[in-house]
């Protein structure tokens, strides 16, 4: 079971819900001697889930990309590489080929098409993956190299590294996506069984919830549910949208100074307020039911 947690808007509480859900079910399942629970932080531009679950890392892996290197002696300034580069990362100027690394998407077209064979590739580190555990919770995250602007390949490698191709149906993978609705979020949803959308009852929260719900509806067609964080005032705007789109509200976490203080100290909600454990277990159970309902009848 792969559950991806997204929100559109930043700061709604994706990481709070992801870390607490993963932590709670990992410990509940341990008690029942069931299978592993993974928390995978896919927000590789600012991975912060580790701050709350304190994993010990046991394995690391570099993420690399192949970038073109131009042999200026062999280059005849044919301009073929400039024409085939979809990202305008190359230019021919003053009898030299200029390469702008930050525009390159490492597609390899210039290497394949150079009529003189003057371009070869060299690998460059663009990120780091780390894997480990915290008690019975398995944990992994990716860290985008500073100066790189494209997180998507790091997320792709992270998922490939952690989630086996043939998912064992009894393992649970909880993916904490980045804010927004662009490529990194799309990559975090690829292969997911369920979209858990965390929002806050504000016009900003609703606005970006609409965008991410649209993304799920158009591109993934997987069941989804809403968690209202900082709930208590203005929930109606979220409730109205949820009922229009027929997306169930699965859980609410109230707007509370006590919760905010525990968060600011790096505490899990379920550590500071153990009464929330039952709610997270119920949330997990409900998600499981919704996934099974959607699966075609044998």
């Amino acid at each position: 079971m792969i559950i991806t947690i997204a929100s559109g808007k930043g700061g709604t509480g994706k990481t709070t819900i992801a870390t607490n859900l993963a932590w709670t079910i990992a410990h509940a399942q341990e008690a029942e001697k069931k299978v592993t629970t993974w928390l995978i932080d896919c927000d590789v531009e600012e991975p912060n889930a580790a701050l709350f679950v304190h994993p010990t890392f046991e394995k690391e892996k570099k993420v690399e990309r192949l970038l073109p290197v131009i042999n200026q002696d062999q280059c005849t300034s044919s301009g073929v590489c400039v024409d085939v580069c979809e990202y305008n990362a190359l230019a021919i100027a003053g009898g030299k080929t200029l390469f702008f690394k930050e525009l390159c998407h490492a597609c390899g077209s210039c290497v394949l098409n150079c009529p003189e064979g003057a371009i070869h590739e060299t690998s460059e580190k663009i990120g780091l993956l780390q894997m480990g555990s915290s008690d019975s919770l398995q944990f992994a995250h990716g860290i985008l190299e500073i100066g790189w602007s494209s997180p998507t390949p790091v997320i792709r490698d992270l998922k490939k590294w952690v989630i086996p191709q043939q998912t064992q149906s009894d393992s649970t993978y909880i993916l904490d996506a980045s804010p927004g609705t662009a490529c990194p979020v799309v990559e975090s949803f690829r292969g997911a069984d369920f979209a858990l959308l965390v929002t806050e009852p504000t016009p900003f929260g609703l606005h970006d919830l609409v965008l991410v719900a649209e993304l799920i509806f158009k591109e993934f067609k997987i069941p989804s549910g809403i968690v209202i964080n900082k709930s208590g005032r203005g929930d109606e705007i979220i409730e109205q949208f949820a009922s229009e789109k027929n997306i169930p509200i699965l859980m609410r976490v109230p707007l509370s100074r006590d919760i905010a203080e525990a968060y600011a100290r790096g505490k899990l909600l379920v550590e500071a307020f153990p009464q929330y454990k039952d709610q997270f277990i119920a949330l997990h159970k409900k998600i499981g039911e919704m996934i099974r309902e959607r699966q075609p009848k044998q």
């Binding site: 990202y87 305008n88 190359l90 230019a91 100027a93 200029l98 702008f100 525009l103």
Partner: protein
């Protein structure tokens, strides 16, 4: 011999000069002496990325002798200076006034980029 001017619209010699280099909608290619000109659409205007690089390559391919623009970003500056195409800063005024300032060597040269990358996107 012709030079390129970044344009915000397409109204012949009455066009407004655009402050944006890579993502302005049109370029005027004009002979500064005879004032013979043509206006072309900027092929880089809606590039997903690298508009400055693509626009600079267009300038090179069209053999312009100089570029006049309000702003110039770092990558466009790299490409144009590698091709030894001088770039001049548009102050304000009409195309006629700007050409006169160019012919009288009164335009300030871009010895270095004056804006950050992606500045043309905000407009």
């Amino acid at each position: 011999m012709h030079i390129a001017i970044t344009l915000a619209d397409n109204k012949g010699l009455e066009s407004s000069i655009s402050p944006i280099f890579g993502r302005c909608p049109f370029y005027m290619l004009i002979d500064p002496e005879s004032k013979e000109f043509k206006i072309e659409e900027n092929p880089a205007q809606s590039a997903s990325g690298g508009a400055g690089v693509k626009a600079s390559q267009w300038m090179i391919d069209n053999e312009v002798a100089a570029v006049i623009s309000g702003n110039l970003g770092p990558k466009a500056h790299d490409v144009l200076s590698s091709a030894k195409i001088p770039a001049f800063k548009f102050q304000n005024g009409s195309i006629e006034e700007t050409l006169k300032a160019y012919n009288d060597n009164e335009l300030e040269s871009f010895f270095e980029p004056n804006v950050d990358a992606h500045s043309g996107i905000q407009e």
